[in-house]
């Protein structure tokens, strides 16, 4: 009987994972940081910086908000391509050619940059430690309450997510204790939690062999598994797949596109409500260990990343309105300057098409100038529409 339950449970998980995977397009990255190598190797770094490190010709991509969906970000690259092409020519930089996979990896990296917290202010954190009431239960350097453990016991140079994960894991007990003592559970706004963590980090006294205990950044794929396995999906849906007790996180994706500890702060803020609801429904409060919380938050962070399927009506219209048809044809219909896009080989996803477009920018730009066609600009969602259309019209290999 027990085995049957396990098998059924596993099958359910597999089914849910498959459905989530389908809903989230084709490329939930397992290691979004991997794209940093492409950023360097393809020479993007010569013009762009990430958080002050890199070239200064283009904008610092760690500071401007470019976090749209994958194809929207490809659209932004496309829209700026003629300017980039001009600058690169001037600087004698060769136009970087990208495979579809490389483009996806690069964009995932740029999207992921803001997952990492900005440095907190320990002085502000120290004030918050008092004003948020943490000091009533916890001590640092012997000063503070004795109800909870001293927070200076955390290990030096460890990731702050270790602390927020511990907060979550102990949340229900803390909540009960606070309720007993008539203490209002603290709520964190903006980057308050980051400042608080920065203060705790500066006071940490725990020693680590080798001096550091850094954590690998969250893995969104693992995070998706955790979302299912830890039962989050029982209450939360992602784009209508999952429970309805809590909000559909697909609809809250913009709120979850924040740095890791800010998202952890949001989880904490809603903790009391969630724990109460779980208790009511007889669901065990999930506990996280290792880097599970970092993975889960990476997944939540990436919910916003995925495009909705292209609009089958808008796609062909854009193909014509954006002058693509002047040079390209689809199944013989259209211009003859460029190839018939239904016959192009090696396309397995819209991002492959986006990469192909990018790789041909110098030629296309030359042609648009020659034909006095304005450079086509794509607004939010339009890349998905047009690439969806092109993908749908691909001739299947015989």
């Amino acid at each position: 009987m027990g085995i049957v339950k396990i098998v059924v449970g596993l099958m359910t998980i597999i089914a849910i994972l498959s459905s989530l995977a389908g809903a989230e397009d084709y490329r939930l990255p397992s290691n979004p940081v991997e794209g940093s190598r492409i950023f360097i190797n393809k020479g993007c770094i010569k013009c762009h910086a990430i958080k002050d490190e890199g070239g200064t010709i283009g904008p610092d991509l760690g500071k401007v908000s470019i976090g749209g969906t994958l194809l929207d970000m490809a659209g932004v690259m496309w829209n700026h391509a003629p300017y980039m092409e001009g600058v690169m020519k001037q600087e004698k930089i060769i136009w970087p050619v990208l495979l579809g996979e490389e483009m996806a990896s690069l964009i995932a990296y740029l999207y992921f940059v803001n997952y990492f917290d900005e440095p907190g202010d320990p002085a502000v954190g120290q004030a918050l430690f008092v004003s948020k009431g943490c000091i009533k239960c916890h001590s640092i350097n012997g000063s503070g309450g004795k109800i909870g453990p001293g927070l200076d016991k955390f290990k030096q140079n460890a990731s702050p997510i270790v602390i927020t994960q511990a907060m979550w894991n102990h949340g229900p007990q803390m909540s009960a204790k606070m309720s007993q003592l008539a203490i209002q559970p603290p709520q964190f706004q903006g980057k308050e939690i980051i400042d608080l963590l920065a203060y705790i980090k500066t006071q940490a006294k725990g020693r680590i062999a080798g001096g550091t205990a850094y954590m690998l950044p969250g893995n969104p794929q693992e995070g998706r598994n955790i979302f299912v396995e830890k039962g989050c999906i029982k209450c939360h849906a992602v784009r209508a797949e999952g429970g309805t007790t809590g909000p559909d996180l697909g609809k809250r994706a913009t709120e979850l596109y924040r740095s890791v500890n800010q998202v952890a702060g949001i989880m904490w803020n809603h903790g009391s409500t969630m724990w109460a609801k779980m208790k009511e429904k007889g669901i065990e409060v999930p506990k996280f260990s290792g880097k599970e919380m970092a993975d889960l938050i990476a997944y939540l962070y990436f919910i916003r990343y995925f495009d909705k399927p292209g609009d089958p009506i808008k796609g062909p219209r854009l193909f014509s309105d954006r002058w693509c048809i002047k040079c390209h044809s689809i199944k013989g219909e259209g211009g003859k300057v460029g190839p018939d896009l239904a016959k192009v080989k090696g396309i397995s996803s819209p991002v492959d098409l986006a990469a192909m477009m990018w790789n041909h920018v110098p030629i296309i730009y030359k042609e648009t100038v020659k034909q006095q066609i304005p450079w086509p600009q794509f607004q939010k969602g339009e890349m998905a529409d047009i690439l969806g259309y092109l993908e749908a019209t691909q001739e299947k290999p015989k």
């Binding site: 940081v33 770094i45 958080k51 490190e53 702050p160 001096g211 850094y214």
Partner: protein, 810 residues
């Protein structure tokens, strides 16, 4: 058949005509034709062009290199652009490394002495016989239960190779590992220990400094990692935008002095006094960093100990004894210059003061300046490099004989009340080897060291070696010390072997380079690591169990596997990768560019090394390991070492001052006991030009060809004297001149330079070998032969620039 082709002929003409960058001196004809007609004629290589990354070993700097090969022949060495020590740059020594690999005078296989020691008569033997000979000797020693009577003397060795040598001794049962320092400038390491409690990890963050005050440290020539400094120099003076000021204080106008913003000539041996004069001014004018001193220093103000005894602090001493007037009379530096330097140093932050490892009080005086401006553990100041991870080898279980042997006193450990700051000393070892006290040595292994050449007293060293019945050298070249060996088991050159290279850069990051063979071994040589493992296995028992791999490469892979398992750092990368790693680390993250151990090993070979580009400021426990856990102006470590030594003992070891002053930075004249200033009016100042710094590269003709910009001095040695002095002594440029000290005399070619102080005679060190192959033997003179053996009273380290000389035409 040997021959000469058109290209070589034209090269020879170009060289002889002075048109080549490597133009030779007067002996050009001889040298070039030796090269051209040498027995090792080389055809132009053909085949596929490839590049392999590895690590240079022409000096201890640890630069990453990229070797270009055509077919199986290495044809060019460049810097590895990924490698954080040199970022693609390479010095002339690094570029000349192929001349070490293809040196026609390399030892080509194991040799056994057949004549008298030093007679140069050898016979070739097989590796099996050679290993058997050593094992038999070691077994005899072991059977007599005298395992402590073997010793290993090793030069610039670090990482796994050092660990294996030490492990071999421990498992065999001997405490006698003797590391011989190459004496390249690494800063005032004794002061670093006395004032910060640390024996290694002293680095200067030059790239962020705005004011660099160098007290005799020839940064661009003989610093331990010259390419790092050369890069930093270029960065802070051009690339960075805001140009840092560099002040070079020394008796000779060195390359560093020439490139600096200002050269301050100073009486030799008085640099410490100048540092104290600057400190006096800063304190008197309230320009010191009170905040740093209040929070992080000990012994600045006068203080009272637990027994209610009051002690003098640094401030009181400096204000009392080192006014600019007094300091000016000691140093010869004008008062107004001292005042200006003090004000500039105190107000142009971040500022850093760099010294040499000379006499201890002067080292402390220079290092104290860094604390006065708060430049300890701060950007642009003195940093404490983060620990290089040391992957552990499996534990060893020595048997009873080995345990007993390893517990015997170290042969090179000075007597308890002599050289209070020395753990062991190479010259103590040689004295003991000579006298046979406290025990007689039965066997000595020489690894990457040539003590006969690098000592003041080659006859003494040779005499000491003569008393040791069995000497094995692992040298690739027939150097002076190997000539005294019984057996030579030649190592591969660094371009033929696997090795790790742990090092840190000037930002304090730990780095581990991977040295890998770029060509197959040219001759019948063998990795000394392999030999040590074979010896251990041949000896059997606990020794055989002590090594985890069957050979050195396997042990190296084991070592890197352990590093991988530690989950730290990443493969070396470009500047952005460094910044990205730091950005991640700031939030407690890391994202290595590999997933598995196999991928790590594979990519390690491609990139050339591993590193952890992170430095944390404010880790007090790591930066100050003194009794007070602060920066100690008043060294409690020194006080504890001196303890209650009787007056006679202090006098006997040459310590001149008494009381609190002994433990504070101060200045005392350093001169040999029998100094006769009237008979010997000049001070001998020996310096190391970049090409020979470290004393291992004299056999490379490219380097002999660029020892000096002036053609006359190449392939030779010279003295630099002031033109006014020369005129007075009737010496003209190019004359042969005797330089005579109480110990002896040598003749050199005279070079008249404005940058020589009138009372100082400067001589470069590096040539003057009596062995080491056709391009080193009998070329130039070794000035160490006329140096008086004066030792620093506390550390026992030789002070080579205290000898007085006279000069006259030969």
């Amino acid at each position: 058949m040997m021959g000469i082709n058109r290209r070589d002929f034209l090269t020879a003409l170009g060289v002889a005509g002075g048109g080549s960058a490597l133009a030779f001196g007067p002996q050009v004809g001889l040298k070039v034709f030796q090269t051209l007609w040498g027995e090792d004629w080389v055809e132009v290589p053909t085949g596929l062009e490839t590049r392999i990354n590895s690590i240079c070993q022409q000096c201890p700097g640890g630069c990453g290199i990229t070797v270009r090969l055509v077919g199986d022949r290495a044809v060019k060495i460049d810097g590895n652009p990924f490698y954080p020590i040199n970022r693609g740059g390479l010095c002339p020594k690094g570029q000349s490394g192929l001349q070490s690999l293809y040196d026609p005078d390399r030892i080509r296989g194991p040799l056994k002495r057949v004549g008298e020691r030093g007679a140069g008569k050898w016979e070739s033997i097989s590796w099996d016989d050679a290993i058997k000979t050593v094992i038999t000797k070691l077994q005899e020693i072991r059977e007599k239960k005298e395992t402590h009577t073997i010793a290993i003397m090793a030069g610039e060795t670090r990482g796994l190779m050092q660990a294996l040598l030490e492990r071999f001794l421990l498992a065999f049962g001997s405490p006698n590992y003797i590391r011989v320092s190459d004496d390249l400038a690494a800063g005032p390491l004794d002061a670093f220990y006395l004032m910060q409690g640390l024996k290694e990890g002293l680095v200067y963050d030059l790239e962020q400094a705005n004011y660099i005050l160098s007290f005799g440290c020839d940064l661009l020539q003989s610093f331990w990692s010259p390419v790092q400094v050369l890069r930093a120099f270029g960065y802070i003076r051009r690339e960075r935008g805001s140009r840092a000021r560099v002040i070079q204080i020394e008796p000779r106008q060195s390359i560093t002095a020439t490139k600096a913003d200002e050269w301050i000539p100073i009486n030799p041996g008085t640099e410490g006094a100048l540092a104290l004069g600057i400190a006096h001014l800063m304190i008197r004018e309230g320009l010191h960093d009170e905040n740093f001193i209040w929070n992080n220093a000990f012994g600045f103000e006068d203080w009272i100990d637990d027994s209610r005894i009051s002690h003098q602090g640094f401030k009181g001493l400096v204000l009392k004894e080192y006014s600019p007037g007094i300091v000016s009379s000691i140093t010869g530096v004008p008062v107004d210059v001292i005042i200006r330097l003090a004000r500039e140093f105190a107000t142009t932050k971040p500022a850093v003061a760099i010294g040499l490892r000379g006499d201890v009080p002067s080292q402390m005086a220079v290092h104290a300046l860094n604390a006065l401006v708060g430049s300890i553990d701060s950007p642009g100041g003195v940093l404490v490099a983060r620990d290089i991870p040391v992957p552990e080898l499996p534990p060893i279980e020595p048997d009873e004989i080995s345990q007993k042997g390893a517990q015997m006193p170290h042969i090179a450990q000075p007597a308890k009340e002599k050289y209070l700051l020395a753990d062991y000393l190479p010259h103590t070892f040689l004295e003991r080897a000579s006298t046979g006290e406290p025990y007689k040595l039965e066997a000595l292994f020489l690894y990457q060291t040539n003590p006969i050449f690098s000592s003041f007293n080659p006859e003494g060293v040779a005499g000491a070696l003569d008393k040791i019945p069995f000497i094995v050298s692992f040298s690739s070249f027939m150097d002076e010390s190997s000539q005294q060996a019984d057996l030579i088991l030649p190592d591969h050159t660094y371009l033929e072997r696997w090795q790790d290279d742990p090092v840190y850069n000037l930002k304090g990051y730990p780095i581990i380079g991977l040295r890998r063979p770029v060509v197959s071994p040219l001759y019948d040589t063998r990795h000394t690591g392999d030999v040590i493992i074979q010896l251990a296995r041949g000896l059997g028992g606990s020794l055989a169990q002590a090594f985890p791999g069957k050979d050195f490469p396997e042990t190296l892979q084991y070592y890197f596997q352990k590093l991988f398992e530690q989950g730290r750092g990443d493969l070396v990368g470009q500047e952005f990768e460094e910044a990205w790693s730091k950005l991640l680390a700031r939030g407690g993250w890391r994202s290595p560019s590999y997933q598995t151990a196999e991928e790590f090993w594979q990519r390690l070979q491609e990139k050339g090394g591993w590193w952890e580009p992170i430095y944390y400021y404010g880790e007090g426990e790591r930066v100050f390991k003194t009794p007070s856990q602060r920066f100690e102006f008043y060294s409690q470590i020194l006080k504890e070492r001196v303890g209650v030594l009787a007056e006679e003992r202090l006098k006997a070891i040459g310590v001149q001052v008494r009381g609190d002053k002994l433990f504070l930075p101060h200045w005392e004249a350093v001169k040999p006991p029998e100094s006769n200033e009237e008979q010997y009016p000049f001070i001998l100042n020996i310096y190391q030009p970049l090409v020979f710094a470290g004393l291992i590269n004299a056999s490379q003709p490219f380097l002999q060809g660029i020892t000096s910009p002036a053609p006359l001095e190449r392939w030779d040695c010279w003295i630099e004297i002031n033109p006014e002095l020369a005129k007075k002594l009737g010496i003209s440029y190019g004359d042969q001149v005797w330089v005579e000290s109480p110990r002896g005399k040598l003749s050199f070619r005279a070079k008249l330079v404005e940058g020589a102080m009138p009372e100082v005679v400067n001589i470069p060190l590096g040539v003057g070998h009596k062995a080491l192959g056709r391009w080193a033997k009998n070329i130039g003179k070794n000035p160490l032969l006329i140096v008086e053996g004066h030792l620093e009273p506390l550390t026992g380290r030789p002070l080579i620039n205290t000898t007085r000389v006279k000069i006259y035409r030969a």
